[in-house]
């Protein structure tokens, strides 16, 4: 029997402040989309802050898996003990 990987999801601090969800959350899922689904099922208040009205990743929010940016448009595998971070795009000068 294959064990479902558990990854550490990092959420933006501003989102954590509004939702009360911790900055780091351990979430099980075999792919990026499974991890996202599990995260939003456990913490539904995060949904409007990460996803847009059509269900896609907000245009100014980036997702990185093990430090590499991913588009989240389609499922990509994650590894046990890996990371999945949602971060705001940088604005300013």
């Amino acid at each position: 029997m294959t064990e479902v990987p558990v990854v550490t999801v990092t959420l933006p601090r501003l989102v954590c402040q509004a939702t009360g969800v911790p900055h780091h959350v351990e979430v099980a899922g075999g792919t990026t989309l499974e991890v996202l689904d599990a995260l939003l099922e456990r913490h539904p208040g995060v949904r409007p802050h990460l996803l847009d009205d059509a269900g896609g990743l907000r245009p100014n929010v980036l997702c990185a898996v093990d430090g590499r940016r991913t588009r989240l448009a389609e499922a990509a595998p994650v590894r046990p003990g890996g990371t999945m971070a949602f971060v705001p795009s940088v604005a300013g000068g």
Binding site: P12, L14, V15, Q17, A18, T19, G20, G45, P48, H49, L50, D52, D53, A54, G55, R58, N60, V61, P88, S89, A91
Partner: protein
């Protein structure tokens, strides 16, 4: 005790009077743009936050200190390709066990439990929607009024006032007599009526006042016909954003600005203006305004009254001005905040 909620570009602040002294608590929701305050049907306080990165959400509190995220409006029910974005909650309006939320992109939602929000499709899918165009502040539904029964009025920037006679099932434009935002003679099609704010008399809800892009107006018949009433204001075109009415006194307040293209007080003489005759004539509201030139503004949600003589306004440069005698005298409170989007005066 008087409590003033101040929603800014960076969090909300709670100002409480302690005799002549004021305490400031906050920021609540630090880092978030706070766009609206309101009351839930169960009596809890509401506030809405927004962010250029992280969208918007609604929060409720029993004590103004501890806030809980609750459900909020969403366009999710439209599927994937609707093109609408929930940019901001602009207003809450609570009546008869239901709270309405006016949002941008322009829409109206309602809830009885804060968990589920029903889209009011009579407005959201209105037959004229394809012609709605955003103004500088976005395409936003920013004020809701009701008559305690089946009649609703919703004000949408660059679109106009839409009235429902059947609890929101259907809406019809109610703008006759109002100068549209875009003059058809200037070569552009009339895209709508750029209403900036509305207020009404709850004892006679067909009496409504509106601050528009081009003028201040009054209707005595629920919006069938509007009469322009800004002739004694100091600006040429009646431009401004908020309009509020103190219910106890019937006094109206506006903050006239020079013009669309120059949104500052005329000659730097910053003051609210008031009317004691339902808008027929206007004068500077009382005393206490700055003598030095002051070039600031007041946004549409940033002036409020408790309906019993306390009036507060917040400026785009972060000051809060207060009157506790129905606008006869004004004081600038000592703290300075980020740009102020929303003000609420609470009696608790």
């Amino acid at each position: 005790m008087t409590t003033i909620m101040v929603g800014t570009e960076k969090g909300a602040y709670v100002l409480r009077a302690d005799g002549e002294d004021w305490t400031v608590a906050g920021p609540l929701q630090p880092g978030w743009r706070v766009t609206a305050f309101g009351r839930a049907p169960d009596g809890r306080a509401l506030l809405a936050v927004g962010s250029n990165w992280f969208g918007t959400s609604v929060h409720a509190s029993e004590d103004l200190t501890t806030w809980e995220q609750v459900g909020g409006p969403s366009w999710d029910h439209l599927g994937d390709d609707h093109g609408r974005v929930l940019e901001q909650v602009w207003t809450f309006h609570t009546t008869a066990g239901t709270v309405y939320a006016g949002v941008a992109h322009a829409g109206l939602f309602r809830s009885t439990d804060l968990a589920r929000w029903e889209p009011v499709d009579g407005l959201n899918e209105h037959a004229t929607r394809a012609d709605w165009q955003p103004g500088l502040g976005g395409l936003c539904a920013h004020h809701v009024l009701d008559d305690g029964g089946e009649r609703l009025w919703v004000a949408i920037s660059s679109v106009g006032v839409l009235r429902s006679e059947d609890g929101g099932a259907t809406f019809h434009h109610a703008d006759e007599g109002v100068v549209p935002a875009v003059d058809p003679s200037e070569g552009a099609a009339a895209t709508g009526w750029c209403v900036h704010a509305v207020a009404h008399d709850p004892d006679d809800p067909d009496r409504i006042w509106r601050q528009d892009h081009k003028g201040v107006y009054r209707t005595d018949d629920g919006g069938d016909r509007w009469e322009r009433i800004d002739g004694s204001l100091p600006n040429e075109d009646g431009f401004g954003f908020p309009i509020v009415r103190d219910h106890a006194s019937g006094r109206l307040f506006v903050v006239p600005l020079e013009a669309d293209a120059n949104r500052v007080p005329v000659g730097g003489r910053f003051a609210a203006w008031s009317s004691d005759d339902d808008g027929d004539t206007w004068q500077v509201a009382g005393t206490g305004w700055p003598e030095a030139p002051t070039f600031t503004g007041v946004l549409r949600g940033a002036m409020a009254t408790d309906q019993q003589g306390t009036v507060a306004l917040g400026t785009t440069s972060g000051d809060v001005w207060l009157s506790r005698d129905t606008g006869d005298s004004w004081t600038r409170l000592p703290s300075t905040f980020p740009r102020i989007n929303a003000v609420e005066v609470r009696g608790d």
